[in-house]
Subunit: 141 residues, 4 copies
């Protein structure tokens, strides 16, 4: 899939997710900035609905981003989105209300049956890493 077609696909996928009555509906107001060939870069502004009770970006929302955005990255490789086998997230730095967060998801390896994906969340202002996650998916469905 060309980069241009990749970005178009990613925009539709985020648009579809944001209208979902399911849990992916929490991914509203993401802007796709680049993608294709197994990658997806998007950004969003931390809003009240993303916060934990300490006023920082909620770890469960971060995990949801890792789960969904790596899956979207994989889809630009014309792969079946598959099912999640395993998700791992390390949390390194807080993000607060109003911060702009860059989400950078990559396909590390997409074999016949398994895909290995990773995702980094960074502060847009200084590139510092907020969280890094990996996902393994079973795609031979």
């Amino acid at each position: 899939m060309s980069a241009k077609k990749g970005v178009e696909l990613l925009k539709s996928v985020f648009d579809y997710a944001s209208k979902s009555k399911g849990f992916s509906g929490c991914l509203k107001n993401f802007t796709v900035t680049s993608g294709g060939e197994g990658n997806c870069v998007a950004e969003f502004t931390v809003s009240e609905e993303h916060l934990n009770q300490g006023g920082g970006l909620h770890g469960g929302f971060t995990a949801t981003i890792v789960d969904n955005v790596t899956t979207y990255a994989l889809m630009t490789k014309d792969k079946h989105p598959g099912v999640t086998v395993d998700l791992h997230v390390s949390y390194m730095k807080a993000a607060r209300l109003g911060d702009v967060v860059v989400v950078d998801a990559k396909t590390i390896r997409a074999g016949k049956t398994l895909a290995y994906l990773e995702c980094e969340l960074r502060h847009k202002k200084d590139g510092s890493v907020i969280a890094k996650g990996t996902q393994t998916k079973y795609i031979d469905l």
Copy 2:
């Protein structure tokens, strides 16, 4: 904290979360069934708002449950809820609309600076495991 006081605390914590304008607001309609001494058992019915686009329980919602419910379990040990260092979830079986899911969270070790927690999601109907997760928290705040 006695088991009775533990359950009372857990009920207030879930109630508070369900009213949150932040991300923990997604944990609505959970019923605490037992808890205290570092443990928390609760259940909920899979609803449309918990689903992924394939009609199964969303992996990001499962991760959010692991993150929050293990933290609540830890709070019954009179520990500071801390910040998440690391979250790991293995997904084993689907859950569908209407399924009742039992969430069983445990404190494995709560030291001076770090807490190690784990959580299992099971089908109420047959006890089969849907997902298992672990969380490491930094609690020396």
Copy 3:
């Protein structure tokens, strides 16, 4: 496989590993205490060759135990030992020279293509947890 046959199989597998010129040769002097039906319980005494440079049980040796012993547990279910997809270990407590360590490995789910396994290392003297690990294996080979 019956418990008795399970234990016999596990004893031969440990014996075979301990004579390996490969990396599994590091699993010498393990005693199988029970097993079968997807489980394996064994113990060993921490020796000089298992230590890190701080004099504690080496995290890499612990990870090797998780990798191998969960695989042996799985083999008592008449499953192909498969290949490792993912290994996760949380380290909770030190073990020192001369400590007796109980290794308790379990098959959580063995489906057609993937197996989910877990393993706990505990001090024999007081049952306190040294480390907990999970392994995902691809078994449809």
Copy 4:
């Protein structure tokens, strides 16, 4: 620490490990190629003692590499090597007897109390990824 001093430190650390009577003694015959400032790149040739019983690089040896080499990378930041909290490895591709493997370890974040590290093992011949791992360490000792 300058890159030159970093490489010198790393060479002594590998040399010291290779002579260890403890478990780090399994890291023999590694060549440091670059490092310093929280990073370490080294390589080794897969030998019989590194293999699993299927003739591939043993997952436990790979985990041991992740554990040790990320710790060495961290030491070039003048940080205490600390204790391992959590280790996660994803296995993507086999390596066989005679293959040359590049180990590339990085410090993602070293705060006051916790360090987040990662490590990639690649085939030298084509750069394809064999495994990726992360380690969290507690360094405030």
